[in-house]
Symmetry: C2
Subunit: 209 residues, 2 copies
């Protein structure tokens, strides 16, 4: 098995759980929040700082305004000028590239598809599901009322979408930003895992040919 | 095999060819432009009239303007008041429902997923592909320059998107409007067909259980 699998996912779609099961099946590393620890070690940022900015939209409007004004005088925007959120994005971006160089793995979220765009051994997935099913799943997992769970789902998806759309040249949740998109509320967790494994196995045959 | 398969597709992604092969595999009917002839027979509209309006956006802005003005006086908008494009949409919509009642089949385009939303034996697919691959495919198929092919791809996708977004409550090309979205430029035609067949077979097991 030689494929790096990236997984974008809607909140409550069980994308993380599905990714972990795929990684277990192939006995390959699984990266999710673990990327934070690794990026912290490699970049020198503390874990808490990375966690605060992890998959959160940057306040890009204000940043751009400040940078544009600044550039009028100096015409430069180096790493030093960069807001912390951008620096942390770049640190995670580098860590994702390093992790991929170590061999096949599953990486969840964090624009991994974009970080690895130049490799030809990647399969980019997006996992979503019926909104009601996702809200129910979150209500159960966090012991919330349906209203609170709905708010949480909407807020999280908005954050992930803003983060992805800001840092990549693609659109979060649009089919053609990925290679395969799966509705986990229809196929179920085991069914989705099975389809992904079939796809990876087929793809490796196609790429060998 | 008991599943009705609907296929939305980006222009040049070979979605039609893929759908036909899936229908051949299962020996079930395949509907594409054929829906036009059938809708013509059943609705009384002539085929040419349906073809002109097939998957084309309606001039909804003007229509709504006229209808709103009209309603001020009469407060009614019956089938008689409706512009021809809407009547034809409804005729195709009815034909899709009838066709589905006859048993498993493959239906390409024409908002079939939306027309069949209330059935529980449907699998909704979206097929897309790398933009450059789609342009090359269209340039070859219609013997066009790459520039002309690019224009045609953009125009057709825009038309399909406007049509779908106007008549359904979903967004064309957004992953969560479908159950499974496949990048045919990565998997190839045969590879995409194989994945769809695996998905249908798995789904029938899941639905039986």
């Amino acid at each position: 098995m030689n494929t790096i699998i990236t997984i974008g996912r809607k909140f409550g779609s069980r994308g993380r759980e599905i990714g972990r099961k795929v990684a277990e099946y192939y006995s390959i590393p699984f990266y999710d929040k673990d990327l934070i620890t690794r990026a912290a070690k490699e970049s020198g940022f503390c874990e808490e700082m990375i966690e605060v900015h992890d998959e959160r939209p940057t306040s890009s409007f204000l940043y751009n305004l400040v940078m544009d004004t600044y550039s009028f005088g100096y015409n430069s925007s180096s790493f030093i000028d960069m807001p912390i959120s951008h620096k942390i994005f770049l640190a995670q971006f580098d860590t994702i590239k390093k992790v991929a160089m170590e061999g096949p793995c599953v990486i969840v979220g964090r624009c991994a598809d974009y970080a690895l765009a130049e490799r030809d051994d990647v399969l980019n997935l997006f996992i979503y599901g019926d909104e009601q099913a996702r809200i129910e799943s979150i209500a159960k997992r966090y012991e919330l009322s349906m209203d609170k769970a709905r708010d949480m789902v909407n807020k999280k998806d908005k954050q992930r979408s803003s983060y992805y759309n800001y840092y990549t040249s693609k659109k979060w949740g649009r089919a053609d930003s990925y290679n395969l998109c799966l509705d986990s509320s229809l196929f179920g967790i085991e069914g989705t895992v099975k389809l992904i494994i079939q796809t990876v196995d087929d793809l490796e045959q196609i790429r060998k040919a």
